[in-house]
Each structure stands twice: as C-alpha cells, then as structure tokens.
C-alpha cells in the first residue's frame, strides 16, 4: 500500500503520482453538458482539459506522464499549468498524491 501524502501546502511535483480522493467523484452532467467533480458540499464544473487531466490521475501515472499524454492529445499544454491545476485540487483535498 503506497503511503499517501496530503499536499495541501506544497506544490505538486512532476514525479508525483496523483489520484482522485476517495470521497470525490468525476462524472458528466447531462443538463449542463459539462464534466463535473462532485464533493461532499460542492460541485466543481470542469472544462474538457481539466476533466482529461483528472481521468489520467490513476495513482500510477506521474504528473510528467500526464503532461506528455495531454501533449499528444491537445498539442499545447504547458506542464506548469497541469501542476498548478493539480496543486489547487490537492489543496482542496480532491486529489491525493501517492509517494
């Protein structure tokens, strides 16, 4: 069982292996036609690339791996943008980092 490091205060590193927190659910809202993240008290409406990043957060891939996967799909994805997005979600405890 890999240890889980909550990274509320730290930035997410390229070598980290993020995964969705257990109490968070990634799904699609038919009414809004947008991907969403469901949390205990709130909902985050995502854009397509945000949803793709989170789909790739399987606890196996590294952040660097996610960046290169996205690069293949979308051409231009600055890796610091992915890191910033995941750092924000880790701070809200939506994403956990397996060390």
């Amino acid at each position: 069982m890999p240890s889980t490091r909550p990274t509320r205060s730290d930035a997410v590193d390229l070598s980290d292996r993020p995964r969705l927190a257990r109490h968070v659910r990634l799904s699609f809202c038919r009414t809004r036609q947008r991907p969403i993240l469901q949390l205990p008290e709130t909902v985050v409406v995502l854009n397509a690339s945000g949803a793709t990043i989170l789909e790739l957060c399987d606890g196996q891939r590294t952040v660097a791996g996610i960046v290169s996967e996205l690069g293949a799909r979308y051409q231009t994805v600055p890796d610091d943008e992915v890191q910033r997005f995941l750092t924000r979600l880790a701070a809200r405890r939506c994403v956990e980092i397996s060390g």
Partner: protein
C-alpha cells in the same frame, strides 16, 4: 436562471433529539403527511433532470425513514452525490452496511458538545456515546466523515475541546456553524446568542486549529451574522443554486423559508421544473429586482444578495426588508439591541425550550 446544484431532501421532521437551536419549523405537526418512497423516487428523478448533482438527506432524523436505503439507492442510481446529515442515532452496523452498499457517498454526524453531560443536555437525550461509536463506524466503513457542530452561547466556550474531539474521531471535515435564528433557534435566541467576548475567543481557537490541522482536516467556520457588518450570501442567492423539499413535499429555496407568507408549491401538485422556474415561492426574491434601498443601489447586492430573507422576516415582519444584520439597514437597531442584551448581565445557561420529537 441557472439549474440548481443541490437538493436538500428533508425526509422527516421526526427526531430523537430535542435541540433548542433546531431550524425545523415550529408547526411540525403540519408536516406529518410525509412523501412516500415512490414519491421521493420521482422527486429525485425530476431533480436530476433539472441538473441537481448533490442530494443532502436530512430532517429531522433521516434514519427514522424505514426506506432510507431505498432512497439512497435511487439517488445514487441517478448519479447524485449523496450526503447523509444525521444525529447518528439509529446508525447501527447493519444499517450502515446497507447504506454503504446502496452507494451513500458521505456522512455528516452532529454532536452538541465535546463532553457527554453537556452534549446530552443540549441534545435533550442521552446520545453522546452512540454518536462517538457511530463516527468510528463511519470511518471503519471507509466514508469521509464530517462532524457538524452548531455553536451557541452554551457550547462555544468549549470549541477547542470540540475540535480536539473531531480530530480524535478522525473527521475529514468539521463544520462549526454559529446558530442562525429561525425555527426553534429564533424562539430560543436569548439563551443561544453568544457574547462578543465568547466569539472573539472562539475565533482565535479556530484560526490556530486551521493552521495546525491543515494537512488533516478541513475546518469550516460559519460566522455569526448578528456580529457582522454585512450579511453573508445566504444560499448563494434566493433560489439560485439550491432547493429544499420538506417532508410533505413543499418546495422551498431554503429550509427556513416555510415561515414566510408565500404561496406554497408542492411536488404532489406540480412538476419540480415548473416550481423551480416559475412558482411564486422561487421567484419572490430571485435576482436583485425585488430589492428595496439601500440594497437596490448597493455595490454589494451581487455579493450578499440582500442576506437572509427568513431572518429579515423574523426580525421585521417583512421578508422584503433589507436584512437588519447589515449596518446600512434602517432596522439595524433590532440587531444592535439583541447584541447589546447578549453582552449584558445575562447568564450563560438560560433554560432552553426543547423542540418536540415530532
């Protein structure tokens, strides 16, 4: 008008506890004709079609509904994130396992204080031990746990120990919510409203706990609006993001709005989509057009949406008045007087009027 994100399903107003700060209506006997299981299933389906994504199962005590597991399964099947808001009385191991299997996502357990005698006194019934056991069970079954604590004059001095308890039981979140004054809390306001010194001491503790616990636990602190300069953005605006369905099927923008003199809208008589979009109870204070001055010309009207309509009504008798908590309100003196009295020679442990169990 946007689609609503959350449905607060008040399954029953029956409750084993008798908390004097309860937000349930005083006329609980008017809500005993509870929606049936098929009716709730239909309401959940209509809510999901409307765009609802979160389903908060509350009450009263939702575990008193024998069909709670079926209701959870229905909500889960519709893709709703399900959140049980409970006293934990009745959360036996078999019941908890059934709810887990039905797909319940999250559990919020209330506690009235960190210490058995105080908690049981405020709850009006021996319950503390069972709550602690239920919290352990919630964690054991792998749910995220939120501990809910309503803060008031008679428990706010214990906030450090309350936080310690939440930490000890392994809570993922703790919600420390200062009492809002409607329902039974309005009736008990004098006994519940804390002093400024109590609040200031509590806020120091909360700030320190947030810093200390930031890697482990979310500490949510709902401010006491009688002590604020401006109102908070109640519900994110009237009928903007959330809707409430009461035990008998009335639809409201928030659980306290049953007290307002507005025409009823009920899921037994009309489609939820129509109620959300067009019923008078939803449109009465939606947006900013209804606002009187000083709200109407205020820069903050899109920030706080004029504050809480229900407490404005309780305080002034007119639900469309500027919320008297705001220092710009012509009725602000009503709040000033209440605060002044709470900071005078008033004992801490005035007698509380308990809400009845049904």
């Amino acid at each position: 008008m946007e689609s609503p994100f959350g449905l607060l399903a008040e399954l029953t107003y029956r409750c084993p506890l008798a908390c004097a700060y309860c937000s349930n209506p005083l006329n609980m006997a008017d809500y005993t004709d509870e929606l049936t299981t098929p009716e709730w299933r239909r309401v959940l389906g209509e809510a999901a079609d409307l765009g609802v994504l979160q389903c908060h199962l509350s009450g009263g005590e939702p575990l008193l509904r024998r069909d709670l597991v079926e209701i959870v399964a229905a909500a889960n099947g519709l893709g709703l994130y399900t959140n049980l808001v409970t006293s934990a009385l009745g959360l036996s191991r078999p019941k908890a396992e059934q709810l887990r299997a039905a797909g319940l996502d999250h559990v919020q357990v209330s506690i009235q204080a960190d210490e058995q005698a105080v908690s049981d006194r405020i709850a009006g019934t021996p319950s503390f031990r069972r709550k602690i056991e239920a919290m352990a069970l919630v964690k054991e079954l792998g749910w995220p746990l939120t501990v809910n604590v309503v803060l008031h004059r008679q428990n706010i001095d214990r906030i450090a120990d309350v936080l310690g308890l939440a930490e000890e039981v392994g809570a993922d979140r703790v919600e420390l919510a200062n009492t809002q004054y409607y329902g039974w809390a309005w009736r008990n306001r004098d006994a519940l409203l804390p002093s400024r010194a109590q609040l200031e001491a509590a806020e120091v503790v909360v700030r320190a706990a947030r810093e200390r616990l930031r890697d482990r636990m979310d500490v949510i602190y709902v401010i006491p609006d009688y002590y604020s300069r401006y109102p908070k953005p109640c519900m994110g605006g009237w009928a903007a993001r959330q809707l409430t369905v009461t035990p008998n099927g009335d639809v409201l923008p928030c659980p306290a709005a049953q007290s307002l003199p507005l025409p009823r809208a009920n899921v037994r008589d009309a489609a939820l989509a129509w109620i959300w979009a067009d019923s008078p109870v939803m449109t009465a204070f939606r947006g900013t057009d209804w606002m009187p001055d000083p709200c109407h010309s205020c820069d903050r009207r899109e920030l706080d949406f004029g504050g809480c309509r229900c407490q404005a009504f309780q305080l002034t008798g007119d639900a469309a008045r500027t919320y008297p908590v705001c220092h710009l309100s012509p009725d602000h003196g009503l709040v000033v007087d209440a605060v002044r009295a709470a900071n005078g020679e008033r004992p801490i442990d005035l007698v509380l009027v308990p809400r009845p169990h049904r």
